[in-house]
Symmetry: C3
Subunit: 152 residues, 3 copies
């Protein structure tokens, strides 16, 4: 399996297993992360539901999630399509895109679709492995179900 | 990533992004496309919900969709499993199959499963890239939800 | 496509097409199969909803399913993420994990999410091809919907 496919698979695993420290480690030190709706993205609006700058920003987000008291825990499950390498990336950066579906299982309920969408990513080799320098997750719905915003 | 995997990923992208001109271009000039239910397929019935012959037929279908006035727009999202190359294809043609799940997001609603199924495809190299010469999409449900039939 | 990816894709196909004989053949003679909830798995509980030892055990399970009279047939559809090879496997065994989503279509109804989860697998080369020596399927929900337990 290619290293790029492996990066995406590991990324989904980290979020699904709640291993947010390892999730942060999949980004470069200066990475930027953005989560936005397709509507905002298509209109070119700068609005984002989540925006993190650098690993410090990602770590803050991870800690905020860890501190949130939750009445009924929910489990997420990512399914990620084959990443497509987009032409036009320079030598050091891979510009890639991948389709995702995220499913949610709230304790005692049946599993359901949480969100689907597509990510627009820039990946670089840093510290001996591929990491995200930029990740923009664009979900198809207008709203994220539920009140706590997990990263995708 | 292999060229075949890339073809399927691009195919899903074209439909999800509504880029139907690019979608037509992923077929050969003499391609045939069919969309049918699993029930019909298993019974060997020639019935198909959609049938297009050649790029001209595909283009007609794409234009028909573009002209349809829609009250509430819906967005589709394809997730496509690893394509399997089936033994028995001749030298020039790749016979492959892939599982798919298509999700639908109607404006203002939550994302839900639209259809799942499997495609039976014949892929050839033409004009410097892989293209579908035949694509038969077999969905698991008896009916397609909604009134407009998008290709899968 | 790598042989490991192909194994997973074929595995899903066998179950989706109801070809349970071919499904059994994807395991080694001494294979063990277990289906359990994430809750049990995370707590380290030995409880399993399904447990099969050896191909004989898998064949028994397949036959039990074949004999079950069903009022309204349901069709399953597996979507399997890229398998991740986990470090630490010895020379002969591949330890891999893969995310899955299984969809269900009951006759006359719309397709819905059945279960999502992750499998923890040990794969070996036997008889000229890769086969599962161990497969532990861990689903995210607490319960499996419906009354008949199909393997995942």
């Amino acid at each position: 399996m290619s290293e790029l496919v492996e990066l995406y698979a590991e990324y989904g695993d980290c979020l699904d297993e709640g291993d947010l420290e390892r999730w942060v480690d999949l980004f470069t030190e200066d990475a930027s992360y953005r989560l936005t709706s397709r509507e905002n993205h298509d209109l070119g609006l700068p609005l984002a539901l989540v925006r993190c700058e650098g690993r410090a920003g990602l770590r803050d987000r991870a800690m905020a999630i860890g501190r949130t008291a939750v009445f009924r825990p929910r489990r997420m499950r990512h399914l990620i399509g084959a990443p497509r390498v987009v032409a036009g990336a320079d030598d050091d950066t891979i510009a890639s895109r991948a389709t995702f579906a995220v499913f949610e299982t709230i304790e005692g309920e049946e599993t359901r679709v949480f969100l689907t969408g597509r990510s627009f990513d820039r990946v670089v080799r840093e510290g001996g492995r591929l990491r995200f320098r930029e990740r923009v997750c664009v979900f198809d719905a207008s709203l994220v179900p539920g009140s706590i915003v997990y990263p995708l």
